[in-house]
């Protein structure tokens, strides 16, 4: 329908073909196209080629870097796995050592405390014995002191004048008879 409208709109009186341009137009158009393509090939192609090469190199570099990074990551991962293994064994060793030390400290502490308790018991027993003996001695001394005081008081009370004179006379008689 549209084509028919277009064909119907063409002026049949025109000399050039409805499809092909005029020869001159083809020549000029062709030359212009050649000049443009030539210029593009001469001036644009090297720059485009250079940009493509640079991009290719950049991409290649990125690929290489990625490969290197991946290799490094693989290496690091291996190291980490190895280290993790070492850490686990070190942890186990440290825990075992700590357990052994704790057991030794506990055992030593028990022995020390047992010895200290025994020593304290012995000292307490000795102090109790000493205190008992001291109390006994003090009691005996106090009894002796009280007895002596009571004896002195009783003797003083019993020493009347007659007894005093008898003692003096007895002394004189004894001394006089001594030699």
């Amino acid at each position: 329908m549209n084509l028919s409208i277009f064909l119907a709109a063409e002026d049949p009186s025109l000399s050039h073909h409805w499809l092909f341009p005029e020869i001159g137009e083809i020549i000029y158009g062709g030359l212009a196209s050649l000049i443009i393509f030539g210029a593009l090939f001469k001036f644009g192609w090297p720059a485009a080629k250079k940009a493509l090469e640079a991009r290719t190199a950049k991409i290649q570099k990125e690929l290489d870097d990625s490969a290197a990074a991946q290799s490094q990551a693989d290496s690091d991962a291996a190291s980490i796995r190895t280290a993790l293994g070492d850490v686990a064994s070190e942890r186990a060793r440290i825990l075992a050592e700590a357990d052994a030390q704790a057991a030794a400290v506990l055992s030593e502490g028990r022995a020390r405390i047992t010895a200290e308790v025994a020593d304290m018991e012995a000292r307490a027993t000795a102090e109790i014995d000493a205190a008992r003996a001291r109390s006994g001695d003090e009691l005996r001394a106090e009894i002796a002191r009280l007895s002596a005081t009571a004896t002195t008081d009783a003797v003083r009370a019993a020493l009347d004048d007659r007894t005093q004179q008898e003692l003096i006379d007895g002394f004189i008689a004894k001394v006089g008879a001594a030699r």
Binding site: V155, D161, V175
Partner: protein, 175 residues
């Protein structure tokens, strides 16, 4: 105070007592005054109190001995107070007694009893001590209540102790 100074006092007192023909009396009274000075704290305090004037302290001596002791004894005791050497009274009196006894060739016999002795007891005691020690003795009796009963006699270096106090001490030691 040196021994020489004590001896100086003793020599002076001895000469004064001899000059007054009162040696026996003076040495006996000085001995008894010395024992009273030793045992009586109030007397010691009064006679040794330097805050009191010397005249006041000498007055105390005169009041204490006046009428009871020989005048020479009072003057000699007052002299010790006046020179500020009353604290030497026991040593001076003992040395004077020793000097006087030595002069009469007697040995000082200090006898301590709880009660005073009668003259008869003193005479018998002098005889008994002379018999026991073989020495003639100048008896000096000190009434000392701490003896409690009995007698403690000291003749020279010899001590004859038959006191109740010593017997009680032995009982205490045994207890």
């Amino acid at each position: 105070m040196s021994v020489q100074q004590i001896n100086a006092y003793v020599t002076a007192m001895f000469e004064i007592a001899v000059a007054n023909d009162a040696l026996a009396t003076v040495e006996d009274e000085m001995f008894r005054l010395a024992r009273a000075y030793e045992t009586n704290e109030a007397l010691r305090g009064s006679l040794g109190d330097t805050s009191l004037p010397i005249e006041r302290r000498q007055k105390i001596v005169e009041q204490l001995l006046g009428g009871k002791a020989h005048n020479v004894t009072v003057q000699l005791a007052s002299m010790l107070v006046g020179t500020g050497h009353i604290s030497l009274l026991p040593q001076v009196a003992d040395a004077l007694v020793k000097r006087a006894s030595s002069e009469k060739q007697l040995e000082v016999a200090e006898v301590r009893t709880a009660v005073a002795l009668s003259d008869a007891q003193k005479t018998r005691l002098i005889d008994a001590l002379a018999k026991a020690t073989g020495k003639r003795v100048n008896l000096k009796v000190v009434v000392d209540p701490s003896v409690i009963g009995g007698v403690v006699a000291t003749v020279g270096d010899e001590v004859i102790d038959d006191s109740v106090r010593t017997r009680l001490d032995q009982v205490k030691a045994r207890l």
